[in-house]
């Protein structure tokens, strides 16, 4: 840890928790409790690593309060709650573990703020499975990247630079190419890009056509979803010719009813392609540690969210059949978490600095793993997890410790 008031230090290979790419090659300067990204940053990391001098005050109903006062208020809310919901908006592994422990004890539920987006992928895994890959495989092996309805630079600012650029690769990936489908833009690409423009909501039609062509069916249409048939035929030919193709999408970008069927259709195409060549899927996750929440919840309970403990056993609740709840704990240690949706129940926020301005009944500032706390996050591919470093010490508790305190207080009868 590089603490100490007047000391200044350069720290190498710092992991960044602010998007699902978890770059860990940042070079940062830490001086008088402030962090400046010197190398290998992006706009987001530069912004989010810079922490204000002052730590925010805890608050009760928007008014500054002592930590103890905010905790007591939160405990009061939880004492009168029957089934609280604890929502991650960036909790690390320790945070999710603490969320599960508390929810289990209180017959509450555990959720992630982006769960309904992630569910578009999860449903496909639960129903059919898929063939997937990870970032280093993409970097070294892929000669074709198909992006489906995703503005990759917005989700993962350094993805193209790190995984599909002109940098070194083990096998000399050779001629690389990006095919971009739907409402996707590819800024920062250093390889040829071909666009097949259509609305994201029409991607199901595009992938139905892809699957039909892969099955050697003839399509009697000049265009599919506004895309000329020849273009889709060319796409399919390119996919079949790929030595190692990768299909990437963001579930968040498939924002229309039954988008899971689109993912299903993509998975089917990739399965078919693997009969002759190698092709794999790369789901692009969100910036609030949704993969971390799903991983820890799954190994502890078998259920990847939303998990509901009201009946004493962990039960999966799917979107549209959510568990009811009468209080919310919103765990938002990452600055990527925005103001939570409006709930008609008391709201406890364990959050980053800016969360102080959210209208919470109780607000407890918490440390950010990777900035002023250690902690583990999973990368988007769900394989690599990294230990975040504590770069500065602002005297804030990690979310897991706050949840632990709430749990301990609830053990004692009022």
């Amino acid at each position: 840890m590089a603490n100490g008031a007047a000391q200044s230090a350069i720290v190498e290979n710092v992991p960044c928790p602010f998007c699902a790419l978890l770059c860990d090659d940042l070079r940062v300067a830490v001086h008088r409790g402030r962090i400046e990204v010197k190398e290998n940053g992006c706009g987001r990391s530069s912004r989010m690593f810079s922490v204000p001098d002052a730590t925010p005050s805890a608050a009760v109903s928007g008014k500054p309060a002592t930590l103890d006062a905010a905790l007591s208020h939160a405990i009061g809310i939880l004492r009168s709650a029957k089934h609280p919901r604890i929502i991650s908006a960036g909790a690390d592994v320790a945070g999710v573990r603490a969320m599960l422990s508390l929810a289990e004890r209180m017959q509450g539920s555990v959720d992630h703020v982006d769960r309904s987006k992630a569910f578009r992928n999860l449903r496909v895994v639960q129903d059919a499975g898929w063939i997937a890959t990870t970032l280093s495989e993409v970097r070294n092996r892929a000669d074709l990247l198909v992006l489906a309805g995703v503005d990759v630079a917005t989700h993962l600012p350094r993805f193209l630079e790190r995984c599909f650029g002109s940098g070194a690769s083990l096998f000399g990936a050779g001629a690389r190419e990006i095919w971009s489908l739907g409402e996707s833009s590819v800024s920062g690409a250093t390889v040829p890009v071909r666009h097949l423009a259509t609305g994201n909501a029409r991607l199901p039609e595009v992938f139905s056509a892809v699957n039909a062509l892969l099955a050697n069916r003839r399509l009697d249409a000049a265009a599919i979803a506004g895309v000329p048939l020849e273009a889709i035929e060319a796409l399919v030919a390119r996919m079949k010719a790929a030595r190692y193709g990768v299909l990437a999408w963001s579930a968040a970008g498939l924002d229309y009813p039954h988008a899971e069927l689109t993912v299903q259709s993509m998975a089917a195409a990739v399965r078919t392609l693997n009969k002759e060549t190698r092709f794999a899927m790369l789901p692009i996750a969100g910036p609030r540690a949704d993969v971390t929440a799903a991983q820890a919840t799954t190994w502890q309970t078998g259920i990847p969210l939303q998990v509901d403990f009201r009946n004493g056993v962990p039960e999966q609740r799917v979107p549209g059949a959510d568990a009811s709840f009468d209080a919310v704990i919103y765990v938002a240690p990452l600055a990527t978490a925005d103001v939570p949706p409006v709930f008609d129940v008391p709201l406890i926020v364990l959050g980053h600095d800016a969360a102080a301005s959210w209208k919470a009944d109780a607000y407890v500032p918490v440390a950010t793993p990777g900035v002023d706390a250690v902690g583990h996050y999973f990368r988007m591919d769900g394989v690599v997890s990294l230990r975040m470093r504590q770069l500065v010490d602002r005297g804030l508790l990690p979310a897991a410790a706050v949840l632990g305190r709430l749990g301990a207080a609830l053990e004692v009868p009022s």
């Binding site: 997937a132 970032l135 083990l170 309970t301 056993v313």
Partner: protein, 553 residues
Amino acid sequence: MIRLKGGCIYDPTHGKQGVLEDLYIDKGRIVPMPPAHVTVDEVIDVSGKVVMSGAIDIHTHIGGGKVNLARTLLPEDYREHAVRAEGGLRAGGGRMVPSSFVAGYRYAEMGYTACFEPAILPVNARQAHMEMGDTPMVDKGGYALLGNDDFLLRLLASGAEPRLVSDYVAWTLQATQCIGIKVVNPGGISAFKFNARQLDVDDPHPHYGVTPRRILGALTRALHDLKVPFPLHVHASNLGVPGNVASTLATMDAAEGLPIHLTHIQFHSYGTEGERKFSSAARQIADALNTRDNVFADVGQIMFGQTVTASADTMAQFRNSGHAHPRKWLCMDIECEAGCGIVPFRYRDANFVNALQWAIGLELFLRVKDPWKIFLTTDHPNGAPFTSYPHLVRLLMDREFRNQRLAGIHPDAASHSELASLGREYSLYEIAIMTRAGPARSLGLKDRGHLGAGAAADITIYEDMADRERMFSSPEYVFKDGEIVARRGKIVKSVPGGTHVVRPGFDRGIERPLREYFERFLTMRLDNFPISADELVECGSREQLVHPCGGSH
């Protein structure tokens, strides 16, 4: 101090075969009989009961990415087998792939006190340790997966000196906090990424030109040179392929006389005889084990019913995906290291192939003469969930029971197998070897797997019942580190477990080419890769348990 009075001791490490003797436990360890003036705080009468050390599972997939993917793929396993939070125990569920807490409880209920996760991808080691950290009751250890990673394949392709391979192996053991090295389908997982669908022991890798034989030779040599107690743990080429007996024997040869452990060897003991072109090669494989001092194996017994196969062997899993039941499966290429494939499977006794697989596994158990050379596993969950071990013990110990079962399987499979002619019944002593003393010796755990003074007081005490399945399902007492943690098959106290590791010495010079490799090709920096002893504890381990290298194999 606790005195266990009058038990019938089965301690193969000390040659004790049903000896009536008291045991003394103090501060978590087994201690010699104390002098008369020492106060014994508690006397537990275990007269007539069978006393063994805690059981050790040498090969069980209980933690890490593939296990969690299997859970994700199978929500039905959790809907149907939910476990309530009660008595201070955590909720969870699952029968095929139990949740982390539940896996620990189920193992301890059966008298197991240590479990070894056999397929830890180095890059996924953190996750594996986090999951195992949330698996209470048992100590854990892991085998790091090498032999499909591009770093090693590049080393071998460039003709690197054995010393460099050893340094890399030792560095990997340290960085991943593991106790052994495993290779899965040597070179084959990597070859599949190059679109190869098969790689036999002497086939050159499509990119590196290196053969599986060369990979096996290099890794067995490295572990030998590093004096790592546990031999190379090998999931051989051609898993599940009829006729793979040839490549299994070639895999044994590839070790060139150095110690090698072939895992789930049942899946690698198939011939091509008969009209279905699928036959038992159990006799050939058992003969090889019986005549080669350097070869060890665990069986990977299958049991009839629904389970799920989870393996790093993407080449085999993709090939077998058509057999998925229910019809869903996953495959993943992983980080220039290996891969992972999850295929749910239902073994049916009325299916010729499955029935013969069942018989082949049992044949192997019964034909391998030395129980120190063969270990009891179902390759959980691939052959069956680990909770079927008591049933398997009964199959081995009770010939009549076994033959009744044999009568119920596909008649052609029964007649194609020589199982009916094998009259052997395992003794309690042999079971104690196969599930305790043998694994501990193989892994180099000097203070586990036995009941001598100085051993960890991991002790399992059974009622001696004729029904061995019942007996082994719910031991009377299970002690973990000197505390009673289970009584009559129910957990009475949840305790955390430690992590067994080895730390062979090596030349840190290996970090120079590694650092360059990571920076040029991978998407993670070398500095962020290793797991420190402190981080292991953050992951959930009670403590790091370091075992020495340098003993004789």
